[in-house]
């Protein structure tokens, strides 16, 4: 019997994979992909609870999360392109223009 807890465990594990990617990788494009993984983990949680409560509102919120992810990807990748044009790098260790 697969309960909502199973889905929550899967979602938590996927979210932590995203956190590890954000905190340990140095290529900013891969950091962005890890953020997408985290957003997907949140979506799994929302859909699992929507299934548990038999209520479609959780899926509506997932649609909003996907909208935010699309907006974030578009703007973020625009920033990466603009930054790459100026500094010729996508390494987050070299992105220190705003560091004190």
């Amino acid at each position: 019997m697969i309960t909502t807890t199973h889905y929550m465990v899967l979602s938590a594990a996927l979210f932590v994979l995203g956190v590890i990617g954000v905190l340990t990788r140095r290529n900013i494009i891969i950091v962005f992909m890890s953020i997408e993984l985290m957003l997907n983990a949140v979506n799994i949680n929302l859909v699992a609870f929507s299934h548990q409560l038999q209520n479609a509102v959780g899926q509506v919120f997932s649609v909003f999360v996907i909208v935010i992810a699309a907006a974030e990807a578009a703007v973020g990748l625009g920033i990466i392109l603009a930054f790459y044009r100026n500094k010729e790098t996508v390494n987050i260790d070299e992105m220190n223009l705003l560091r004190w």
């Binding site: 594990a13 494009i29 929507s50 703007v75 392109l81």
Partner: protein, 166 residues
């Protein structure tokens, strides 16, 4: 029984591809693994009676967003790999430790048993699209319009950021 088998296979695939995404050397490989991961998540949505969301996942994520990522990876041709230069003050081990702390916190939340077994009533009907559309255009009309406006702003912002000169 079949449901449990499907869940465990999909969960293993999702986590396996997730690990590959954050460990693969080349960014293009990462993107391909991420597409596979998203397709598995879409299959999981189907098993959770969220067919509309599964279609959206394939169309928007695996189809749209990932092509955007691929474009950027192809545009940014790297003469030296980004992993070559590393900040000496960087504490990668600390990052891993913090992620484990997040895992422990999430596990604590999970084991406190907020989750109940599925309700007997079937509020999720097979015509999933109609339900979601009704909710979006009645109760969530203002968030829906705000989301569309956010997408417009993001589109304009992305064009302005990526343009060479205005």
């Amino acid at each position: 029984m079949a449901e449990a088998a499907a869940f465990y296979i999909l969960a293993a695939l999702i986590l396996g591809f997730g690990v590959l995404v954050i460990t693969a050397k080349s960014a293009v490989h990462c993107i391909l693994f991420l597409v596979a991961d998203f397709l598995c998540v879409a299959a999981l949505y189907v098993s959770l009676q969220a067919q509309f969301l599964a279609v959206i996942q394939v169309l928007v994520y695996a189809g749209g967003i990932m092509v955007l990522y691929l474009f950027v990876v192809m545009l940014v041709n790297l003469k030296r790999p980004p992993e070559a230069h590393s900040d000496p003050r960087r504490l990668g081990f600390l990052g891993l430790l913090m992620s484990v702390a997040v895992l422990v916190e999430l596990a604590l939340i999970v084991v406190t048993r907020w989750a109940r077994p599925a309700a007997a009533g079937s509020g999720l009907s097979p015509d999933n699209v109609r339900q979601i559309g009704r909710a979006l255009y009645t109760d969530y009309l203002i968030p829906f319009e705000l989301a569309s406006f956010l997408l417009l702003v993001a589109m304009v912002g992305a064009i302005i950021l990526a343009k060479r000169e205005l």
